[in-house]
């Protein structure tokens, strides 16, 4: 083992630099500054606080046990037994991907969303956004009744007004437009068609704030049909992605993650391990998992694709006009290697591209055509319906609006005033339209301007369907009575068509006439319907294949040059962030507090700069810079001020900023978090969270563009403290505690694929030895013994588990200021490590949660025995015993314990309905941490006993395991040698983090295996 090996991984640039300059400082386990010692609390403030505390204590002591009422049903619904959870299959409405859901209902209300393991696309995973979307149901700021000119009205009044106006518009033959995001629901589309069909001049205009319009346009050119193909990552052995963040935010990340993982199974015989190369300007989640990352500025992407196409064309012997192409900014050698790999895996390779440039997409189609990807790794016969937006039609709609030609505009599922580059110009234009109706249930910039708001139900309150991919139709069923006087979109459309009907009837009739004929298994509709409602989806074997034209080579044109940037000029890249996406769930505090998987910053957007660019500008993390665009942005804005985040692995001429921030919906967070003397607001100076960068998008040549050049940066000299969890919980072995030779062993272990295939034990850096124990081995574990295995190869860092745990375990949101003070409460965090010199870095994601150590250091220091071991290997935290000394947290080597510095209640009392009644809500002064979802363990054990059956492996799934799209987390009984977790823990890849301190954790990690060139490998793993 090489001596310099151990600190290969670092979490932040500060840490890396400190490692070089003073290793001792970098190992500081508690980097918190003592704010009180240097802070600004004066004597008077102290006395005030002390006085309040005293009075509070006295008053609390005066409480008597209150009389509590037990109020049963009058007449109990047949299927409900109080205290038991019921699961209903449904379809997620969090985005357009349409993942399968199991909605956990307790006492008549949904409390948790889980992935549906039977679902053919999402296969049991559910992303962070999907998990968090349940909180939107209990949002009391939703629009809960129809509005007329901003005032509450009845449905009759609103319908009468709208129908009157529509009648006039129909008679005069004026234009009616329905603007929405992608709707994949066959029933909604048919109902909408019937509604629009009544008007001589009516059109449905679709745009997606995260547009894939260029892909669809390219297929229209190359295959004669405007469609989005269904990408089959599970079939791909070599994947080349051009700025498509398919594991995090692109089209259907849950399905793609599951597929991607299916092609990377080392334990399969023979071992499968796809090769993934990512070309991108910034560090994306997908890039962080790539075997090879090549940094490309956004304006150079087309040129690089052209070169790759030319190389593959010459390999395939296909004609390609290769003259006069500028040299690419990336090494030709690397590109040639990629081309070679793709070519060798012909028919099993896949090229995806997130660019919004149609010619680049056409070139990608050409490459896929050369590689015989069609009908192998790309399905055109049963295409995806997840993104159907057409930016050209959006552009013509905007022109019509400017021309005052539209008489009625219906808006559903989108927020154009916020989403679009010239959104603020829309406000006066919308005022000129005689009838503007919004169908959104969330108050936003657009609903404010609508004449009528006809709020739709939350997706958990209504019947509906979605067809994310042709032939797979998901069904949604209501899981509770609507909380307000809202109405399903289907019902509104039917009412305005003149055929008022309930959403259930519309859906059922539509399924009978449209969906039922497409299947072959069931002969009676009732049986088919019942099965579909039970399953939550229907697979339609009889779906007709989409007929596409053969590939038309004539439309392929090389991109000859890339726009050059001058000295000190940058390309601005606007990207969607995990969880927040386009800002459609910006009002969700769980998603706002979810650390970005790469930067680990919460509650803000910021300007990402590469270390070299930051050094050249003499700025560091938190310094505010001013972005200035040459040509004015959509709303005439010329500058934008944002704090800097220094992002290793980013292109040096790129500044990247997240979309979805600074919307009106975030104004609610002004009072977020504890309001105490030293507390600072969660919102910024503008009263909102982050800054909106939508005006910096460009809607040009019929496509929304997510980058712009040139942009200049100017340091402002101001500084903003970002709420980052990046340097939380440094894990390192103090040399005095480790056995000789093991003290510098890193927490991430890895090896190269070639070495692994030679010897499955490769990369093992330290062999476990039997230690003398201070503790008696007095845990016999005669029954179960719970353990967890986490596969670092599978983990993409997508953070679905973080939100799943938060929902399941009533983990509170603390607000930006508290996050800054290192008081985030998440029980599971994902540590993100970098390796490398800062320009090109390798990334590792490591979920870190309570390790349930056998020799737990926390247990030995607790003076009140509030944390003790149980007979099944769990390290229990007993809230009612805890007095809050925080000794346990100090002594925890993994830094996974969380202390309640305050009571952190939901800011909206209605949100309390989402609390899991099976988990105690912790109050101020209590330590808490991961319990391995012990409530689920107890439930499964008791149910097994009740049924008189043995507890079967897999009956217990923790919340993190359930949600993981990659299947990276497995929990089970280690005492059962046949359980999945036992098998995984016997794997040659298994290691324990900090094994050398002999705390004997119950969590085993499976080592990372990387595709890497052998030469580099030898040097590293020695």
């Amino acid at each position: 083992m090489a001596g310099d090996h151990s600190h290969r991984y670092w979490k932040s640039l500060e840490e890396r630099n400190a490692l070089v300059e003073s290793p001792a400082a970098a190992e500081d386990e508690f980097p918190e500054s003592l704010e009180f010692a240097t802070g600004s609390i004066g004597r008077r403030q102290f006395l005030k606080a002390a006085g309040f505390t005293f009075v509070g204590a006295v008053l609390t002591g005066c409480q008597r046990a209150p009389v509590e009422k037990a109020i049963p049903y009058l007449v109990k619904p047949e299927e409900v037994i109080p205290g038991l959870a019921y699961f209903y299959a449904s379809t997620c409405g969090g985005c357009s991907a349409g993942c399968g859901l199991l909605v956990k209902n307790r006492d008549g209300r949904p409390i948790k969303l889980e992935g549906n393991p039977e679902h053919p696309l999402s296969k049991g995973g559910l992303c962070a956004t999907g998990q968090a979307s349940i909180l939107g149901l209990y949002d009391s700021r939703r629009i809960l009744h129809p509005l007329r000119e901003g005032k509450e009205a009845t449905w009759e009044q609103v319908d009468r007004d709208i129908l009157d106006k529509l009648e006039g518009i129909r008679r005069e033959g004026r234009a009616v437009r329905f603007l929405s995001d992608s709707i994949s629901s066959p029933t909604t589309l048919a109902t909408l068609e019937a509604f629009l069909g009544r008007f001589p001049n009516a059109r449905h205009v679709v745009y997606d704030p995260l547009s894939c319009s260029a892909i669809l346009d390219a297929y229209e050119q190359t295959h004669g049909m405007r469609l989005l193909p269904h990408f089959r990552f599970e079939m791909a052995e070599v994947i080349a992605s051009f700025d498509a963040d398919f594991l995090a935010t692109w089209i259907a990340p849950v399905e793609y993650t599951a597929g991607y993982q299916a092609a990377r199974r080392l334990e399969a015989t023979p071992p499968q391990f796809s090769y993934h190369v990512q070309f991108e300007p910034r560090m994306s989640l997908t890039g962080s998992k790539a075997d090879q990352r090549i940094r490309v500025a956004p304006q150079e992407l087309g040129l690089v694709v052209t070169h790759l196409a030319a190389m593959l064309a010459s390999l395939a012997g296909a004609p390609f006009p290769a003259e006069g192409i500028e040299q690419p900014a990336v090494p030709r050698q690397a590109l040639q290697e990629v081309a070679q790999r793709l070519w060798e895996a012909k028919g099993r390779s896949l090229v995806v591209c997130g660019s919004q440039d149609v010619s680049t997409q056409v070139l990608c189609n050409f490459i896929n055509h050369l590689l015989s990807s069609y009908s192998n790794t790309i399905d055109l016969a049963l295409p995806s319906r997840q993104r159907r937006g057409n930016d050209r039609e959006l552009q013509s709609l905007l022109e019509e609006l400017h021309g005052g030609k539209i008489a009625a505009l219906f808006i559903s599922g989108v927020n154009p005033v916020y989403d679009l580059p010239d959104g603020n110009q829309l406000a006066p234009l919308l005022q000129q339209v005689p009838l503007v109706v919004s169908l959104d249930g969330k108050p936003n910039e657009t609903t404010e301007l609508a004449h009528y708001v006809c709020p739709n139900h939350h997706s958990l309150e209504s019947w509906g369907d979605q067809e994310p991919v042709s032939g797979v139709v998901g069904l949604s069923q209501p899981c509770m009575q609507p909380l307000g006087n809202t109405r399903a979109l289907l019902e509104s459309l039917a009412a305005w068509t003149g055929t008022p009907k309930s959403a259930y009837d519309i859906l059922r009739e539509s399924w009978q006439s449209r969906i039922f004929p497409r299947q072959t298994k069931e002969s009676s509709f009732q049986a088919f319907w019942d099965r579909s409602v039970q399953d939550g989806f229907a697979k339609l074997e009889g779906t007709r294949a989409t007929a596409v034209r053969p590939f038309a080579a004539g439309v392929v044109h090389p991109i000859l040059s890339a726009g050059a940037l001058g000295e000190g000029e940058f390309a601005l890249v606007l990207y969607p962030k995990v969880g927040i996406l386009d800002g459609r769930h910006a009002e969700n505090p769980w998603l706002q507090e979810l650390p970005d998987p790469i930067t680990k910053v919460t509650w803000d957007n910021y300007a990402c700069l590469s270390p070299a660019a930051a050094a050249a500008l003499r700025v560091s993390a938190g310094d505010v810079v001013r972005l200035e665009s040459g040509p004015a942005t959509g709303n005439g804005q010329k500058g934008l001020e944002l704090p800097v985040v220094v992002q290793p692995g980013q292109h040096d001429q790129v500044v990247a900023v997240a979309l979805g921030y600074g919307s009106k919906a975030t104004e609610r967070f002004a009072g977020m978090g504890p309001q105490w003397i030293e507390g600072k607001s969660t919102v910024g100076e503008t009263g909102r969270v982050g800054v909106s960068v939508a005006p910096w998008l460009r809607l040009v040549d019929g496509a929304l563009q997510y980058w712009r050049t040139p942009v200049k940066l100017q340091p402002t000299g101001r500084h903003l403290a970002l709420a980052s969890t990046q340097t939380y919980g440094g894990i390192r072995v103090p040399p005095q505690l480790a056995t000789p030779g093991a003290e510098r062993r890193p927490v991430i272990q890895e090896t190269a694929l070639a070495s692994y295939l030679d010897d499955v034990r490769a990369g093992k850096q330290w062999e476990a030895e039997e230690h003398e124990d201070l503790w008696a081995q007095d845990h016999p574990y005669t029954g179960h013994r719970w353990a967890m295995a986490i596969d670092l190869n599978a983990c993409t860092g997508c953070s679905a588990c973080v939100i799943a745990c938060q929902v399941e375990n009533n983990v509170p949101v603390v607000g930006k200021d508290e996050v800054r003070r290192r008081r985030v409460m998440h029980w599971i965090r994902i540590d993100r490590y970098y390796a490398g010199d800062g320009a090109d870095v390798e990334v590792a994601h490591q979920p870190m949660l309570c390790q349930h150590c056998e020799n737990a250091p926390c247990e030995t220091v607790c003076p009140v025995l509030a944390t003790v071991h149980n007979a099944e290997g769990l390290n229990q935290q007993i809230y009612n015993r805890c007095v809050g000394t925080r000794y346990c947290s100090n002594n925890c080597p993994y830094k996974v314990r969380r202390f309640n510095w305050f009571n952190y209640p939901h800011e909206d009392r209605l949100e309390n309905l989402v609390l899991n009644p099976d988990v105690t809500v912790r109050s101020r002064g209590i330590m808490e941490k991961c319990s391995f979802c012990v409530q689920r363990i107890q439930e499964a054990k008791i149910e097994a006993k009740r049924k008189g059956e043995p507890l079967r492996d897999g009956a217990i799934k923790t919340a993190c395991q359930q949600s993981c799209p990659a299947g990276a987390i497995v929990v089970g009984d280690r005492n059962d040698p046949n359980s999945l977790v036992s098998q995984l823990l016997r794997s040659s890849r298994r290691y324990h983090v900090l094994q050398e301190i002999n705390v004997r954790p119950s969590i085993g990690y499976l080592k990372l295996v990387r595709h890497r060139l052998e030469a580099r490998e030898e040097k590293r793993d020695g």
Binding site: A65, V67, E68, K69, A70, I71, P72, Y73, L74, V75, K76, I81, P82, G83, L84, G783, V868, N870, A871, E872, L874, Q876, I878, Y879, N880, R881, D918, V919, T920, V921, S931, V934, Q935, Q938, I942, K945, R946
Partner: protein, 216 residues
């Protein structure tokens, strides 16, 4: 001299206070509600139903077998019988006798407690649902209450063969339900220790004394 008198007076006062409070406040832990016997909105008698009429506990508290909560029966369960039984036999006989004496047809007698049930269900005189009447679930006063941080599971105990009386006392003899045991943690744990040795109803059981059996 004066100060000595004062000291004695204060000392006697202190002793009196200590003794007085010692008597009036029984030595129990905070939250201990042993002996709690609140008045209920309807004077339902367990002695009559469970004792005299021998109706099984699980007939009304059907959740106890399947769920963590035994549950207070929905009013609909009462109506299974009280659709037909609307007053005590004694009251009906008395009315009949009185009617005979006064030479008039006997009137329908409805027990005043059952009137409350019918009112809650919004029923008319013929015990049919009357849409014009409001329905109000009955707000019973909870007697046996554990703190929010303790998770007791009825189904685990009932299915192990434990008798309800073991924790709830002789409910079938009580006119109004009273909390018999103190429901403290020590009391729970003692039983868990005991049955690990002795078993329940002749069967061996695993009654864990791990904290997270109840606290999570």
């Amino acid at each position: 001299m004066n100060s000595r008198v004062l000291t004695i007076v204060l000392g006697v006062g202190l002793a009196f206070t200590v003794v007085f409070f010692g008597w009036s406040v029984s030595p129990r832990l905070p939250g201990d509600q042993q002996g709690y016997e609140p008045a209920q909105p309807i004077a339902y008698s367990h002695r009559l139903h469970a004792g005299e009429l021998q109706i099984g506990c699980l007939y009304c508290h059907f959740g106890a077998e399947k769920s963590r909560h035994a549950g207070i029966p929905p009013a609909g369960v009462c109506m299974n019988c009280h659709r037909f039984v609307i007053a005590s036999l004694g009251a009906i006989r008395a009315e009949h006798e009185q009617a005979d004496q006064q030479k008039r047809p006997p009137q329908t007698v409805v027990s005043p407690e059952l009137e409350k049930l019918y009112a809650a269900m919004g029923l008319d005189k013929n015990l049919q649902p009357d849409p014009s009447k409001p329905t109000n679930p009955i707000a019973w006063v909870q007697v046996h209450k554990l703190p929010d941080f303790a998770y007791f599971d009825h189904r685990a105990h009932v299915n192990a063969g434990l008798e309800c009386q073991r924790c709830h006392g002789p409910v079938e003899t009580m006119e109004r339900v009273r909390q018999v045991e103190d429901l403290s943690m020590g009391w729970c744990v003692n039983c868990h220790r005991e049955v690990d040795q002795t078993g329940v109803a002749g069967k061996a059981v695993e009654a864990s004394i791990d904290c997270d059996t109840c606290h999570y």
